[in-house]
């Protein structure tokens, strides 16, 4: 163990860090269990109140939007569909592209490499209106595909899979070839099972990325039925305690996934075995 300073000092610094991370969320959570009257007269609360069930069930069934076409429950369903769609589409397509980049002797390999990876430099925010006009040309505005596809158009996961494949020993393909595996069998029977940790890590990464989208859903969903949680937050009217409750609920899916699957996430991103 290499020490720079005493362990007690380290614990103190870390506890301060954790305090800074947890206290804002705790105050909002504790306040979300009180009545609006208490918040409006006494400000944010540190201790829990007794209106937890009442405030949270009210939010779930709350009808949002101008036309009251959507409930918060439906927003969660939309967000879940969008995030899962983004994760599936980008992980599967990236897995396949990286396979060709590493395992095939392709003509124009360098050109292909640049066509794919230069796109990382052009995030959606830089082409947001033209993307919208493409979506409306293809009739994908106000649809789940409209929410999912442009967010999945990213080569970040491809970059990670490519790095990972490159660490796999050459002998794997040699022996698979001896066994008579064709390109499809090698991919499905050897490569995909080997990349399991990486696949989970990229799935989490893209799920959180999809769930957290804000600007794109605002632009592409003029119909309230397709609203997602993160964009719905700003649109929500209603009493302050219900807003607090909505904020807390909106964090739960991505935070839970990161905490529960933390091991895979960190292993995959840093590729330590």
């Amino acid at each position: 163990m290499i020490r720079y300073f005493s362990s007690n000092f380290s614990h103190l610094i870390l506890l301060i860090g954790i305090f800074i991370m947890i206290i804002p969320v705790w105050l909002i959570f504790a306040s979300s269990t009180h009545t609006a009257l208490i918040i409006n007269t006494q400000g944010l609360q540190f201790f829990l109140g007794d209106k937890f069930l009442e405030n949270y069930t009210k939010v779930l069934l709350y009808e949002g939007g101008f036309f009251k076409e959507i409930t918060v429950l439906k927003m969660f369903l939309n967000s879940f569909l969008m995030a899962t769609g983004v994760a599936f589409l980008s992980v599967i397509s990236s897995l396949m592209t990286a396979y060709v980049l590493v395992y095939f002797r392709v003509k124009y390999a360098t050109l292909l490499f640049w066509i794919i990876f230069i796109t990382i430099l052009v995030p959606l925010e830089l082409r947001i209106f033209p993307t919208y006009s493409v979506m409306s040309t293809l009739n994908l505005v106000n649809s789940y595909w409209g929410l999912i596809i442009p967010i999945s158009a990213s080569a970040i996961a491809t970059l990670f899979f490519r790095q990972f494949y490159k660490t796999i020993p050459d002998e794997l393909l040699e022996s698979a070839k001896l066994d008579g595996a064709n390109t499809w069998r090698f991919f499905i029977d050897f490569l995909v099972p080997l990349s399991k940790t990486m696949i989970v890590a990229m799935f989490i990464f893209m799920f959180v990325f999809g769930y957290n989208q804000y600007l794109w859903p605002i632009l592409v969903t003029s119909s309230e039925q397709y609203w997602t949680v993160v964009m719905g937050l700003k649109m929500m009217s209603g009493s302050i305690v219900n807003k607090f409750a909505f904020v807390i609920m909106s964090m739960i899916p991505p935070v839970l996934i990161i905490i529960v699957l933390q091991k895979y996430f960190i292993k995959g991103i840093f590729q330590d075995k």
Partner: protein
């Protein structure tokens, strides 16, 4: 590249098709349109389109609001990079230093990474509201904080809101970087150098350079693009457009002002900035840092 590979055959097209198809239709096509928008002007009714060379670019350079957004974006990315990097490093060094509870600390410090910027913004709102905002009142008592009117105060507001969750990302990467340093290197350095403070800055920190520069790029990208959700849920550019990033301004001009030519030109300017930063990263920095 691999020494053993499959020969080029038809199945490669099958494997390439999904991603290449998506990128061509949903990324390259819009990028081409961005260039078309930037170099043309639409007439008021949206029927005709005229090639205007660099008029849209000249127009944004004439716009004082563009330079305000430029200034804010540069200051904001610099401060966020510095603040989140420093705090992330401090926490990572200490988490690497403790014997017990390392994984518990890790879990308790990384979860804010998962929270959406827009959600962070809505939350920050509550702490900076005039009515019951704890930080608003604390700062107001200290120096008369009022972000509705003071540019400096609105910067403080957005720096706090923008840094909070990004500390987690910096912490994770610095911790991984520290754990990757070989024990023998550090053990040898203990013999040579008694002062732990000096040892950190002369041995450990230089070994962390690859992580540091990776994080600089990550943090700049975050401040450029991901902070849209934070600004749109907190200051909305107040006071008088002083806290708009380049991305936020381009969006507002395109969406509210329906000026796609200007939005396109602004997007291309931003692509150039990103390109310059990336080239700088590869050419200048990658050549100068130490890898173990």
């Amino acid at each position: 590249m691999k020494k053993v590979q499959f020969k080029s055959n038809y199945s490669q097209y099958f494997f390439l098709a999904p991603q290449l198809g998506i990128l061509l239709i949903f990324l390259y096509w819009p990028i081409i349109q961005t260039f078309r928008d930037a170099f043309t002007m639409q007439d008021a009714f949206g029927f005709g389109r005229q090639f205007v060379w660099f008029d849209n670019f000249l127009f944004i350079f004439d716009d004082p609001a563009y330079f305000i957004a430029f200034k804010f974006t540069i200051i904001y990315s610099f401060v966020i990079t510095l603040v989140t990097g420093a705090i992330g490093l401090l926490l990572a060094v200490n988490a690497n230093n403790v014997m017990h509870g390392k994984s518990a600390y890790k879990t308790l410090l990384i979860w804010p990474y998962a929270i959406a910027p827009a959600v962070v913004g809505v939350m920050a709102n509550y702490f900076f509201s005039e009515r019951f905002g704890l930080l608003y009142h604390l700062f107001n008592d200290l120096w008369g904080f009022n972000w509705y009117e003071s540019v400096f105060d609105s910067y403080i507001y957005l720096i706090i809101a923008g840094s909070w969750k990004q500390i987690s990302a910096n912490f994770i990467f610095f911790l991984a970087g520290l754990q990757a340093i070989q024990k023998s290197v550090i053990e040898a350095s203990i013999i040579d150098c008694k002062s732990s403070f000096r040892r950190f800055w002369t041995i450990t920190f230089p070994l962390l350079m690859p992580t540091t520069f990776f994080l600089i790029i990550i943090n700049i990208t975050y401040a450029f693009f991901d902070t849209f959700g934070i600004i749109d849920t907190t200051t909305i550019g107040a006071p008088s457009g002083e806290t708009r990033t380049l991305v936020y301004k381009a969006y507002m001009d395109g969406f509210r002002g329906l000026d796609l030519g200007s939005a396109g030109a602004q997007s291309i300017m931003m692509m150039l900035i990103v390109l310059v930063i990336t080239i700088f990263q590869f050419r200048y920095i990658e050549g100068k840092i130490h890898y173990n």
